[in-house]
């Protein structure tokens, strides 16, 4: 028996030794760096005893140059043999170098897709292989990569608003082809040249809307063509107050939107309390809004992602524009510094409201001098070092500044002069380096600086009789947030069925809830200076893979690992993401998604509006990060290339949302904020329907959203759930653009929405006087949160543009009317206990922005 076992074991050993494949990872040392291929194979055989077997197609006479003297067999063979034509297999002690049949050989086509006139990168342009209806899209830098078999293919390059390019290609090696697409003239009819199955690309866009800034049609208050106004015609997007208050996406608050400008987060995205966005249309190339089904490369906010890409600048010629409106003046200049190598783009915008106000005050001989303006500056410079390397530097500076100067007699012989300055703004910078490592791998590395600052200055000086003014009070207050980030991201495209994205982000957040300096010389008080800085660190790792299963199913699965450290408190979250699209027919698809998002920064709001005084705070031990879990399901039908119907359902659960406690009042937000707020839960659900026509003389869209949003906080509203501030049951809008001729364009926009929730005080209590405990006053109280509704909202906006070609460019007159039928939309309502005749309290409603006509002139050269 023992003998049998021994013999059997020995036999097994032999068999195992016989069957064992040669290890291709085995390292060998090569005495030379250059070999003839046959000589190299012999060297390997000599050192490893491996025998090579190959066909006569292999050219063994070719010279091979090796980079390392010590390398694995696989690395040596990979360097020596064209893997497009041969594959390497190890079996037993033999290494087979097998020829791939010509029809199975795969080559790669890659390059950049751009606008033929301006050279601007076209983001999400489609590359479709009409031979087998596969394809891909260009990434955020216009780069694409597609693998094709060794045969003739008909490739279609297309982008909405551009003429398609059809290209016959027969690849014998990896090829770089940069494509320029010609913009269509505005009256060009829709002509569908390719089969709709060309849409079967390897990219998935769930709950996403993309558009180019130049197609923005919707003018806002005072005629400014504003980005946020253009987003509000999309389903699921609304503003909480008329013209004010930022964007609310799928019932989320404005601070839950991740707004990226060339990859840099923008913390306060509005001018003039939300009337305008900070994004100047002249400076923007492409906008992408993601409302759900978030890919893993996005994170940090729980409601939406607004990814804005600035224009690189014209690569062919110098061009620009200027415009004058009722409130703003704009100027843009862009072009090549070195043709096809270096470009720049400069955009400036400023209001002249301060000049108008001061002029009026001067005329009235007032002792008060007051002014307000906002301005923006966008600057971008792009340099192409080679086909493989590009460097981008973009910066944005924008801010609002209000100032008041006044003087008055404070006693019989003393006059006091007071100066206030109040300003806030963003300063963002990004330095990005694109590198095409090979035809499969695209990399982008970014350094980011983002700063948001709120500043208040108050100076007082006094003079007695005819003496000079002496400063006796100086107070400065500053708050804000500053981010320093490093981000590196890779697109790996092994074949047309797979698209992988992975990367790393590391950020330092410096939050300044308030630094203060007070100097009061009037009463010989010493200076007071306080400065608080909260430092936090955030690290994110993510990876996602888009995989096509057959021709009908496309899946994007990914994970984001986010971690946050502040004051010895550590949070870490794994955020799974899954999106899927199933094509029932080439025109009809179903989508579904799940995504978890985590937000480590909270915005503490000082009013019901989105104001610059609102402060960002990182999470603490007591205040945990916001988590949201969103599920979506939808169906999408393309009637043709222009007309599309999208229907989508979403369900979102959020936890650790914040709201002000019932008895909170602001004294020192920076130190008391944790005690002023309460954590709770929220849930929203909605159905979005959108019918759009993107091409032709008449285009536009119809959007309808049916939604419900509730929140619950233990210590608010007696612990009962109540409508969230952004709960709008019905939201409907229709936008129509009509090109009357080559020179004239007419637009109309009508919107309707159920009234937003409101909190009203209909009760009073007796309150003891803090100065005299024997006396009482009555004070209003709010017992139920958001238990009332503002009246329904609707309005019609009209605009018409007259364009004319001039000698050096195109001039345009834009006339618009906001709220054409003068609907009195209530922005705010409250109970007034004024002493009126009946002594009964009354409900008062404030209506903003009735009928507002405006006109602007612009010239493009």
């Amino acid at each position: 028996m023992v003998k049998f076992i021994f013999t059997f074991s020995l036999l097994l050993c032999f068999l195992s030794a016989y069957c064992q494949n040669i290890n291709l990872q085995q390292e060998i040392k090569l005495p030379k760096s250059s070999y003839q291929l046959s000589e190299l194979l012999e060297e390997i055989t000599e050192q490893t005893k491996a025998q090579f077997s190959f066909t006569s197609e292999l050219n063994t006479n070719k010279r091979v140059q090796l980079s390392d003297s010590v390398s694995s067999i696989r690395d040596i063979l990979n360097q020596s043999i064209n893997l497009k034509n041969f594959k390497i297999q190890a079996k037993g002690s033999k290494i087979f170098i097998v020829s791939i049949p010509p029809y199975d050989r795969k080559y790669r086509i890659s390059g950049y897709i751009s606008d033929a006139k301006s050279g601007e990168a076209l983001i999400n342009a489609t590359v479709a292989n009409l031979s087998n209806f596969t394809g891909t899209v260009s990434n955020n830098f216009g780069f694409y990569s597609l693998s094709l078999k060794n045969k003739t293919h008909l490739l279609q390059f297309s982008f909405v608003g551009y003429k398609e390019v059809l290209l016959d290609v027969e690849l014998e090696k990896d090829t770089i082809i940069n494509i320029s697409l010609e913009p269509k003239t505005i009256l060009q009819e829709v002509k569908v040249t390719a089969n709709e199955r060309a849409n079967n690309i390897n990219h998935l866009f769930v709950s996403t809307n993309s558009f180019q800034a130049k197609t923005m049609q919707q003018t806002g208050v005072f005629g400014e063509n504003d980005l946020f106004q253009n987003l509000r015609h999309l389903p699921g997007v609304q503003n909480s107050n008329e013209g004010l208050g930022g964007l609310n996406i799928r019932n989320g608050s404005p601070d839950q939107n991740l707004i990226l400008l060339d990859d840099v987060p923008v913390y306060y995205s509005s001018h003039l309390m939300g009337l305008y966005s900070v994004f100047n249309q002249d400076a923007i190339n492409q906008v992408k809004l993601v409302k759900g089904g978030f890919p893993a490369h996005y994170g940090g906010r729980v409601s939406s992602v607004l990814d804005i890409r600035m224009k690189d600048g014209n690569t062919k010629k110098l061009e620009g524009s200027y415009s004058l409106g009722l409130l703003t003046a704009k100027f843009n200049l862009n072009g090549p510094i070195k043709k096809d190598k270096t470009t720049f783009n400069l955009s400036i915008r400023r209001t002249y409201l301060d000049l108008l106000v001061n002029g009026i005050l001067d005329l009235s001989d007032s002792n008060v001098n007051a002014g307000y303006y906002f301005g923006d500056l966008n600057w971008k410079i792009v340099h192409r070092f080679s086909q493989r390397d590009k460097l981008y530097f973009s910066t944005y500076w924008g801010g609002d500044l209000a100032s008041v100067k006044s003087s008055e007699d404070i006693s019989t012989n003393i006059r006091e002069k007071v100066r206030y300055k109040l300003g806030w703004g963003n300063f963002t910078n990004s330095l990005r380096w694109n590198h095409v490592y090979n035809n499969h791998l695209f990399g982008n590395t970014t350094l980011i600086l983002s700063r948001y600052t709120f500043l208040l200055k108050e100076k007082r000086s006094e003079k007695a009789n005819d003496s000079d003014y002496m400063e006796n009070y100086n107070h400065e207050f500053k708050s804000g947030i500053r981010d320093f980030s490093f981000k590196t991201e890779f697109d790996f495209i092994p074949d047309y069925k797979h698209y992988l994205k992975f990367g790393l982000e590391a950020s330092l957040h410096h939050t300044k809830p308030g630094s203060e300096f007070i100097k009061n010389t009037r009463d010989n008080n010493s200076e007071i200076s306080t400065d608080e800085l909260i430092k936090s660190k955030e690290v994110n790792l993510y990876g996602e893979a888009q995989i096509r299963f057959g021709k009908k199913l496309l899946v994007n699965m990914g994970t984001r690992w986010s971690s946050f450290i502040v004051d010895n408190t550590y949070y870490s979250t794994i955020e799974p993401r899954l999106n899927a699209q199933y094509f029932l027919t080439p025109k009809w698809s179903f989508t579904g998604s799940f995504s978890q998002m985590t937000q480590y920064l909270h915005l503490v709001r000082t009013s019901t509006l989105s104001l610059p005084t609102d402060l960002w705070f990182p999470v603490t031990k007591k205040i945990k990060p916001i988590d949201s879990f969103q599920y979506t399901a939808g169906t999408h039908y393309s009637f043709n290339k222009s007309v599309k119907l999208n229907i989508e359902f979403y369900h979102k659960l959020s936890r650790n949302l914040l709201d002000l406690k019932g008895t909170s009042y602001f004294q020192d937000v920076s130190s008391d904020w944790e005690n002023m707020v309460e954590s709770g839960k929220g849930w929203s659900k909605g159905l979005e329907v959108e019918l759009s026509k993107s091409l032709g003389k008449t285009n536009g869209n119809i959007a309808y959203t049916l939604s419900q949003s509730k929140v619950r906080f233990k210590g608010i509203n007696n612990g009962k759930s109540y409508a969230s501030p952004y709960d709008r049951r019905h939201n409907f809008s229709i936008q129509v653009n009509q090109f009357i001729s080559n020179k004239t364009k007419f637009s109309a926009f009508w919107t309707y929405g159920t009234g937003l929730p409101a909190t009203l005080s209909t009760s009073k209590i007796a309150a003891i006087s803090p100065y005299d405990p024997s006396s009482f006053e009555t004070k209003t109280v709010y017992t139920e949160r958001n238990s009332y509704r503002l009246p329904d909202y609707h309005r019609l906006d009209l605009s018409i543009s007259f364009m004319k070609k001039k000698k050096h460019g195109t001039r345009s007159w834009d006339i618009s009317i906001y709220n054409f039928y003068n609907r009195k939309n209530t922005s705010y309502m409250y109970v007034s206990f004024d002493n009126n005749i009946s002594n009964d309290p009354k409900l008062k409603k404030i209506n903003l922005f009735s009928f507002i006509p405006s006109v602007s002139y612009s010239y493009k050269f």
């Binding site: 019989t412 003393i414 108050e458 209909t762 100065y771 405990p773 002594n839 404030i846």
Partner: protein, 288 residues
């Protein structure tokens, strides 16, 4: 910090094209809620006032049939007796400093309510000086007292004008940093707006325990010729401090649009109101 008022001014241009409409008030949607009011001084009787929230027309509705029990350092002191106009009192029990008091209220129509306070210790005024600067039209006071640096302290300062044995709380101003700009004479500052007029302060900005505060009254402010001024220094609890500031903040907020809809500060769970305490020291100075 609250800069809300300035920001509201900034959108005035939009209000130029806006308008206001008036309508009848919708029906109240909530049940009445209890309101407890008690600010007790050390050495005074333990008492409180009970009422409930009301709709319109405005009329305070007192609660006279509640059972109110007082506790001192977790030991029951007894039931408070109802007097009149919602006032309940514990006979012969006087508030002692550095002592914790708790009360519970039960009533068949309302949930049980509990609240408590720790009575502070009196802080003595060390010195008060009066400077009559007629050329500037004002009378300046300099108050000295000793702050205990081992704990966070909260204070309130009241000035009363005395004429014919009748005293009135009068307006005073201060540029002293302890008031954080809330009492600047012509204050239209943005930061202080919501707390403009607040007479409470904390020891956060004190440089040393020996504190001197400067404040003044404007002689033109009064029609009455006061012969004396009574300067009252209240050592108050943190709840009292929050209540005073919240009281002032609500006054200043008034009907400002878009402001947060919050209520008066309360340390009573499940009800409205305040149950807090103070210790008072005062000095009377004659007009020069």
């Amino acid at each position: 910090m609250n800069y809300f008022k300035l920001l509201t001014c900034l959108i005035l241009f939009s209000l130029l094209v806006s308008c206001e409409e008036e309508e009848e008030l919708p029906q109240t949607k909530s049940d009445p809620i209890v309101s407890i009011n008690s600010l007790m001084g050390v050495d005074s009787l333990i008492k409180l006032n009970l009422s409930k929230s009301v709709g319109s027309p405005v009329e305070i509705k007192y609660i006279s049939d509640a059972t109110v029990t007082a506790y001192k350092n977790n030991k029951e002191l007894g039931k408070l007796a109802y007097r009149e106009n919602g006032t309940y009192e514990l006979p012969n029990q006087y508030l002692e400093s550095e002592t914790e008091y708790e009360i519970t209220m039960t009533h068949p129509d309302f949930n049980k309510v509990t609240t408590n306070t720790i009575a502070p210790e009196k802080v003595l005024i060390n010195d008060i000086k009066l400077l009559d600067d007629a050329s500037e039209g004002k009378t300046t006071f300099k108050l000295k007292f000793t702050d205990d640096p081992s704990q966070s302290n909260y204070y309130m300062l009241l000035v009363k004008g005395i004429s014919n044995n009748i005293s009135d709380v009068i307006q005073y101003y201060s540029n002293d940093i302890v008031f954080e700009g809330n009492l600047n004479v012509n204050d239209n500052g943005f930061e202080q707006n919501m707390l403009r007029g607040s007479r409470s302060f904390s020891d956060e900005n004190f440089k040393s325990s020996q504190t001197e505060i400067s404040f003044y009254i404007l002689n033109d402010d009064f029609f009455v010729g006061y012969q004396e001024y009574k300067i009252e220094l209240y050592h108050i609890s943190q709840d009292y401090f929050n209540y005073e500031r919240s009281f002032v903040s609500l006054e200043n907020k008034g009907d400002i649009p878009f402001s947060n809809k919050t209520n008066l500060y309360s340390n009573v769970e499940g009800a409205f109101g305040i149950f807090s305490s103070y210790a008072l020291d005062y000095k009377i100075v004659s007009k020069q």
